[in-house]
């Protein structure tokens, strides 16, 4: 390699380095701003990710994370050897799939129906009322469920009796999923409808004109104009929900649990809490949690790829 080539190569590199220096000198304040929040992300997000290494170790407090002996895949084997593992996975999947199936169409139907209504006062009232429960905390929603379904004082207990369902739904393992999912729909349908309302408002009005000229009925306008118009939004929401299938929250399931419905209400998140924090088996709990997160990430990647192939829409 000759000196001439070297010099030619060095020049742009040199220039880049100078540019970087100038950028730093001029915008040092921007970099300074980043220091604190980035430190937060590292400490509370990335160090915990690294701590997952204890899933592959036999962790004990005295030796610490790095001093504890390696255990290979023992913790994962221990989890899957336990017959409860498959119950947990099944409970988690069934609960979120049920939630997906029930919770996905309702906000779309609500938004499409609201979009047809011309009476502004009625429209606003329905929107405001259905939106409100979104802001009620999980603790309160579960308390309300316990009260309205209480066999002794609940006003819905009688209504259920009318439909031939008896007594205490909260103590019935088979009713757990329905209670969980439909109370979720009750709480979030109004909120989830907003994004579809926005998409509907963005549809080109000339499409409605065209449909009108063709003599399309209202139902056909919904089918041929509204639904294709909100399809990209539907796909994005769908990906996000499927990507969260395994990430179903701890908060509500834990509150709705009682010894009687545990056979269906114990999900991976609540189990991790129990063996990890109550049982102090950190390594096993971390292994279960890691398994859950990885499955979840894989699902999200698969759904996103498939959706991009099929519909051209994806998250990235």
């Amino acid at each position: 390699m000759t000196a001439a080539v070297d010099a030619r190569r060095a020049t742009p590199r040199e220039r880049r380095r100078q540019a970087r220096g100038r950028n730093l000198r001029r915008h040092w304040q921007l970099y300074l701003m980043l220091v604190l929040p980035v430190a937060f992300l590292v400490v509370f997000q990335y160090i915990p990710m690294a701590n997952n290494v204890i899933a592959f170790k036999d962790y004990n407090v005295v030796a610490g994370i790095w001093g504890s002996p390696w255990a290979g895949l023992d913790n994962f084997e221990r989890f899957f050897a336990n017959p409860v593992a498959w119950d947990l996975i099944r409970n988690t999947l069934m609960l979120s799939l049920y939630g997906l199936l029930a919770g996905f169409p309702v906000p779309i139907i609500l938004a499409l129906a609201l979009n047809e209504v011309r009476a502004r006062f009625f429209k606003r009232t329905v929107q405001m009322v259905t939106y409100a429960p979104y802001f009620i905390s999980t603790v309160i929603v579960v308390s309300m469920l316990i009260l309205v379904f209480s066999p002794r004082i609940g006003f819905l207990t009688e209504a259920l009796g009318f439909f031939g369902m008896d007594g205490n739904v909260l103590a019935d393992p088979d009713a757990f999923r329905s209670v969980y999912v439909w109370s979720d729909v009750w709480q979030t349908a109004g909120y989830s409808a907003i994004i579809y309302m926005a998409a509907l408002a963005g549809i080109d009005p000339s499409l409605y004109e065209a449909a009108r000229l063709d003599g399309a009925s209202r139902l056909r306008k919904i089918w041929h104009v509204d639904l294709p118009g909100i399809a990209p939004t539907v796909v994005v929401v769908m990906i996000l929900s499927v990507g969260n299938v395994m990430a179903i929250g701890f908060e509500k399931a834990f509150l709705l649990q009682n010894p009687l419905n545990l056979s269906q209400s114990e999900i991976i998140a609540t189990y991790t809490y129990k063996i990890g924090l109550l049982g102090a088996d950190f390594s096993l709990a971390a292994a279960v949690g890691l398994f859950n997160s990885v499955i979840n990430l894989i699902l999200l990647l698969i759904v996103n790829t498939v959706s991009k192939r099929v519909t051209g829409n994806g998250l990235w």
Binding site: L170, A199, S217, L277
Partner: protein, 315 residues
């Protein structure tokens, strides 16, 4: 969908409405009218399904203990009285929890907003070197999280267990809010303003403080509400990080009073009056703890809508 379509969408609906209304009046066929009746019935059902449980709770909270325990309250108070509220508002644990939650919400929201602006603003600037890496680092936390136990270990190692900071610091930065703020800064602060400030020799920090932030009030309102409501409603971090009941936020106090003490209706307590009072208190407690949110609700709803629009921008 992009931010632009979301913004353009609103005025367009306004313009479209009159023409559609006229068209509908002329063209509604019989089938369409039947269809509209079905639509109104459907929406009325939605309305009632959401409203009736809320009204039942409210009516019960104003009823007498005996009426509540007898399951006699439906949609209107029976034997109207305020003793449920008197009992709740003189309960020490509830008051402490209320105060604590107020503290966590105010301080937590301030910390969160400061950190969110400090990270979102530099990331919105194209001059920043390594911008893509940083943004990727934020987005990745949405896809993958450390998990319960590994995070708990960090909080423990920092000595934050059983302190107020355990509820504020670990959840201080929300990736979603950073994304919303970043998009807002990028799309609403005109680059001409920045160029003018550059010519005047204004520093980046000064520009953020005296130009960007005053222009970003709607954004600050949205993310403050998101963080504030999240903090007010959460109980999970308190459950795992706190032992000292003096530090409990309201939601955890409510959990103890409303859920843990509940034995699923097979209560054999012999003090009938005490038991009836406990029933009534639950209803009053639900109302009292939800009222602060419902008071700010109309305001919150408007801003949250904006947040949903801002958030529907692809990063």
């Amino acid at each position: 969908m992009t931010l632009q379509t979301a913004n353009r969408a609103e005025p367009r609906t306004e313009r479209r409405r009159p023409s559609r209304r006229r068209a509908a009046r002329v063209q509604d066929t019989r089938g369409d009218r039947v269809f509209m009746v079905a639509v109104y019935l459907l929406l009325a059902t939605f309305l009632l399904v959401v409203l009736i449980p809320l009204i039942n709770i409210l009516a019960s909270s104003f009823s007498s203990p005996a009426a509540v325990s007898g399951g006699r309250v439906l949609l209107w108070p029976v034997d109207f009285t305020l003793i449920g509220y008197e009992a709740v508002l003189s309960n020490e644990a509830v008051l402490t929890g209320f105060g604590n939650s107020l503290f966590y919400t105010v301080v937590g929201t301030i910390v969160s907003i400061v950190l969110t602006v400090l990270i979102a603003y530099p990331l919105s600037r194209p001059e920043l070197m390594g911008r893509k890496v940083f943004i990727g680092g934020v987005l990745f936390t949405m896809l993958f999280s450390g998990g319960l136990i590994p995070t708990y270990m960090v909080v423990r190692a920092l000595g934050l267990l059983d302190t107020r900071w355990a509820l504020i610091l670990p959840t201080a930065i929300g990736a979603w809010q950073v994304l919303i703020a970043m998009t807002f800064f990028r799309s609403t602060i005109p680059s001409e303003l920045y160029e003018a400030a550059q010519l005047d020799g204004t520093s980046d920090a000064r520009f953020l403080w005296s130009v960007v932030l005053p222009l970003s009030k709607p954004l600050l309102a949205v993310i403050a509400l998101m963080y504030g409501i999240g903090q007010w409603n959460s109980y999970f971090n308190a459950l795992i990080y706190l032992r000292n009941e003096e530090l409990y936020p309201l939601q955890l106090v409510l959990r103890d009073l409303l859920i843990v003490n509940n034995s699923g209706g097979t209560n054999l307590a012999d003090q009938l009056a005490a038991e009836q009072m406990a029933d009534l208190m639950k209803f009053s407690l639900i109302v009292v703890s939800t009222v602060p949110l419902m008071l700010v609700y109309p305001f919150v709803a408007r801003h949250f809508n904006k947040g949903v629009m801002l958030g529907s921008v692809k990063g």
